[in-house]
Amino acid sequence: MTTPMVLAEGVHKSFGRLDVLKGIDLQVARGEVMCLLGPSGSGKSTFLRCINHLEKVTAGRLSVDGQLVGYRQKGERLYELKERETAQARADIGMVFQRFNLFPHMTALGNVMEAPMRVRGQRRDQADAWARTLLARVGLDDKASAYPAQLSGGQQQRVAIARALAMEPKLMLFDEPTSALDPELVGEVLEVMRALADDGMTMVVVTHEMGFARDVADRVVFMDAGVVVETGPPAQVIDDPQHPRTRAFLNRVS
C-alpha cells in the first residue's frame, strides 16, 4: 500500500476554549480530488490550514506524504519543527486563498517568480521563463506585466493558482477559491482547477460549488460542527445524502 498524500488521525484544533475540530479522520490518496463541504464555521477551512501548518493541530496526528506536519516524532514525544523546516515542508504544498492574497506590489509575473527564486534559488531568467509558462497555462500570458489591481478577480485568482503551481507542489489546497468572485468570473477559475485535476494533481478543495464538486471530485466530505458527518463519492453524498444534517445543508445551498 502506498502512503496516502494526506493522513489525518483524530485531528483536534481549538482556539482557546472554542473547539473547531473535534477529531477528524481522513485520508487523501495520491491524485485524488477531495471536496470539503459544509456550513460556515464547520471547521473545513481550519482543517485545510492545518494541512500546511498555518494552524497548529492541538491533538492528533496529521501527515502529508508520510511526514508529520509541523512536528517530528521521537519516541513518545512530538517536537515542533524549526521555522526553516516548516517552510521547506510548506514549499511542496500549494495553497490558494479565498481572497487571492496576491502581492500587490509585484506584477503577475513577479508574483509567480518570487517563491521559485527566493525559496528554490532559481536564477532570474529560469524563473522568468517558468513563470511565463505557468501564466500561459492559466490563460494569462498577456497579463504578465499587469499589477493585481489591474486584473479582475477571476484573473487574480488564476495568477494565484499559477503562483502556487510554480513551486511544483505535490498537493494543492484550495480555500473557497471562488467565494470572493462575481458570479460570471467563477467559471474561468473552476476551468483552470478542472484542468489541474485532469492532470492528476492531488487536490483538497473547500468549496460551495456543488456543480464542481459533483463533476470533478473523486470524493466529497461533508463536515459540520468540527466533525466529518459523511464521506463518499459525490453521486452518493450530494445526490443521495444519508445523514439528515447533510440533507438539511444541501437543501439550503442548492
Binding site: N52, L54, I93, N101, A149
Partner: protein, 297 residues
C-alpha cells in the same frame, strides 16, 4: 388639493436657459480683510530697522553655506540612523520573545519621553561620567558632530519605530500567510512582502520626520556643532545684525525643506505602485502633456 404651480415660462425660442451660481459675498469681504492684514504686516517689516541687503549678502557667505552643508549632513545621517533603528526596534517590538519586545518598548518610552535637547546635552557631556571609552578619552571621542549624530539619530529611532510598526500593522495578514504558504521564511516574508507594502504607509510620515529633522538639528548649536544656526550666530555676535542673520538661516531652512518636500512627493509615488489602477501624473508630466495638447486621462 393645491393646484400645481404653473410651469415657469421658458426662454424665448432658440435661447439657452442661463444658470446663475450662488454669489458668495462673504468670501469677498473676508478675502479683503485678510489681504489688508497681510499688507499691514508686510509694510511693518519693510519699514522696520532691518537691513535686507545683509540678509541676502550672507545667504551665500562661505561659512553660512558650510553651515547649511553640515545641517544637511547631520540630518541625513541622523535620519538614516533613525530609520535603521526604527526598523530594528519595530521588528523587536512585534517579536514573540517577551524580553526582546520589552526592550524595544523601553527604548521607545525612554527616548520619546525625554526632550531631544536634553539628550543632546547628555551625549555631549558623557565624558563627565565615562572619562574614557575603550582606552580613549571620551572628550576626544565625543565631538560635537558625533554627539549631535547620536542624540538626533537615537531619538529619531524611537519615533521611526512607531511609524514602522504602524506600517507593518497595516499590511493584510493574508499577505504573510500567502508568503508562508509558498515556503518563505519569516525573514524573507518581512523583507520581500511585508516591508515593501508597509512602505506606502511609512514614507509620508518619514518625510515629515526628515523635514522636522532638518529643523531640529538646529538644537545642535547648543553643543557647539557648526551647523546653520551656529554659523549665523557666529556672524551676528560680530556684526550685531541679529534679525538679518536669523532671516538668512530661515531662508536656508525654507530652501532645504522645500527641496525635500518635492523629493518626498516622487518617493511616495514610487511606493504606491500597484495601489492604483492608473498612476497619477506628476505635476511636471501633466505640464508636458498639456503643452503638447494631449488630452488628460
Amino acid at each position: 388639493m393645491t393646484s400645481p404651480e404653473p410651469a415657469p415660462s421658458g426662454p424665448p425660442a432658440g435661447q439657452p436657459l442661463v444658470a446663475v451660481p450662488v454669489r458668495h459675498y462673504g468670501r469677498w469681504v473676508s478675502g479683503a480683510l485678510v489681504l489688508a492684514a497681510l499688507t499691514w504686516l508686510v509694510l511693518a517689516f519693510a519699514r522696520a530697522d532691518i537691513d535686507y541687503g545683509t540678509t541676502g549678502e550672507f545667504f551665500t557667505a562661505e561659512n553660512v553655506i558650510r553651515g547649511a552643508g553640515r545641517t544637511l549632513l547631520v540630518s541625513v545621517l541622523a535620519q538614516a540612523i533613525g530609520i535603521a533603528l526604527g526598523v530594528l526596534f519595530a521588528v523587536m517590538r512585534l517579536s514573540r520573545n517577551p524580553v526582546t519586545s520589552s526592550v524595544a518598548w523601553a527604548y521607545i518610552w525612554l527616548f520619546r519621553g525625554t526632550p531631544v535637547l536634553v539628550q543632546l546635552l547628555i551625549w555631549y557631556n558623557l565624558a563627565l561620567v565615562f572619562p574614557t571609552i575603550a582606552g580613549q578619552p571620551t572628550s576626544d571621542l565625543m565631538t560635537p558632530f558625533l554627539a549631535a549624530l547620536l542624540g538626533l539619530g537615537i531619538n529619531e529611532g524611537a519615533y521611526m519605530a512607531e511609524i514602522v510598526r504602524a506600517g507593518i500593522g497595516s499590511v493584510d495578514e493574508g499577505q504573510t500567510e500567502a508568503a508562508q504558504a509558498l515556503g518563505m521564511t519569516r525573514a524573507q516574508t518581512l523583507r520581500r512582502v511585508v516591508l515593501p507594502q508597509a512602505m506606502r504607509v511609512i514614507i509620508p510620515p518619514t518625510g515629515n520626520e526628515f523635514i522636522n529633522m532638518l529643523k531640529t538639528s538646529s538644537l545642535a548649536y547648543t553643543i557647539q556643532y557648526g551647523e546653520l544656526l551656529l554659523s549665523a550666530v557666529a556672524v551676528y555676535t560680530n556684526n550685531l545684525q541679529v534679525i538679518e542673520l536669523l532671516f538668512t538661516v530661515s531662508l536656508w531652512y525654507l530652501v532645504l525643506t522645500s527641496v525635500f518636500s518635492i523629493g518626498q512627493y516622487y518617493l511616495e509615488r514610487r511606493f504606491s505602485r500597484g495601489a492604483a489602477r492608473q498612476p497619477e501624473q506628476t505635476p511636471i508630466g501633466r505640464l508636458v502633456s498639456n503643452l503638447r495638447g494631449r488630452p488628460r486621462l
